[in-house]
Symmetry: C2
Subunit: 196 residues, 2 copies
DNA sequence: TTGCCTCCTTACTAATTAGTAAGTAAGGTT
DNA sequence: AACCTTACTTACTAATTAGTAAGGAGGCAA
């Protein structure tokens, strides 16, 4: 035994590291097994097929995001909440320059199973939904200034953060911070705007 | 022969389709060979190792972008040029929902060769440089309104377009258009801004 | 016509992939 | 004591991977 009862969770943990670092097609059951000091058949015992593991990874991300939403509800005001959303991604960047789950899911979208795709779609919608609510409430309270509809800015912000995280891999972390700083600058209240 | 003299280019064309659709780790020499009706060893003849093919793909993208920059110089004004930049990505979206080269390169960044990484970095910098110039000139001529520095907005716009293209895979094309429309809305001159 | 060069095929290798089947050791239940 | 379940290991398959080596067919040049 020795391997103990939380092997299943440990597999998911190792798989998640590999996944966000190398992509779904960039790791195998052998990589996971080697890191845990078990045999790849043991991984198959817990997750018979790789798509089972893949779905479990995305579903765990969804549950984690749902719990994050609950925790984040306690933060008050638009900016602390937006910063919390950005902080999720900042953690990926700092942790060996990983990317966010939706980023990798989208990039490899045409190589994953239907069920993974469904989960990926749900996760993306949940994140976009949260951002939309954030911007609707933020405008109502006068914390943030933007044109158009809340779901529009939400889409821009979601895409920007995901894109910035990826681009930072190629050109360095400074690029992420430049992007985020400017994104926030554009959203700030009313200030003496620099124009033409 | 029959196979003709442009086999090398045909290989690159097929590889590019597969690459932008399934990712670098999502296709093999056999996929390319089968589509062209040749043997995979013939692909190795032209591109001995897969990383040679990979570098060739990125380098061609860089040359293509450089030519695009020259062509685009003839367009006058900020908005037609920005629309041209977006149109590049729109084409990827419409062509079987592909993603942009930098998007896939960033996602699989830790699984590609050093030389591919170098090329990817260059391509990213070239695109960001072009956008930066676009925003600097656009502000000078009063065509566009933004806070902060040109390279900041350029980073935001680059990240947004790349992110939006990927996200559209999961939730549909409408998401790309929503994002782009709102991005442009935020950049428009001065209008009767919707505030709090 | 001899020989070389280009572009390909046939025929392989060695490694890695996902996945399965059968067996086993430990612990709990009856 | 007999038995079942959980969590593995050993040992395998079949497919696919990148990559190589040797050979052949056609065109071109001397």
């Amino acid at each position: 035994m020795a391997g103990r009862t939380d092997t299943k969770r440990e597999i998911l943990d190792v798989a998640e590291q590999l996944w966000l670092h190398r992509g779904y097609n960039g790791f195998s059951y052998q990589h996971i097994a080697k890191q845990l000091g078990i045999k790849s058949a043991a991984v198959h015992y817990h997750y018979p097929a790789k798509q089972d593991l893949g779905v479990a990874l995305v579903e765990r991300m969804r549950r984690r995001f749902a719990r994050w939403v609950v925790r984040t509800a306690e933060l008050d005001g638009f900016w602390p909440k937006l910063d919390a959303y950005i902080a999720i991604h900042q953690v990926y960047l700092d942790d060996d320059s990983k990317v966010c789950p939706t980023g990798i899911l989208d990039a490899e979208f045409h190589t994953i199973s239907d069920e993974m795709r469904r989960s990926a779609r749900e996760l993306t919608r949940e994140m976009h939904g949260w951002l939309t609510t954030l911007f609707r409430d933020g405008r109502e309270k006068g914390d943030v200034c933007f044109r158009g509809e809340p779901d529009g800015v939400a889409a821009v912000v979601g895409a920007t953060v995901q894109g910035a995280l990826q681009i930072a891999r190629a050109v360095g972390r400074g690029s992420f911070h430049l992007t985020i700083d400017h994104l926030k600058l554009q959203l700030r209240r009313r200030e003496p705007t620099v124009d033409a």
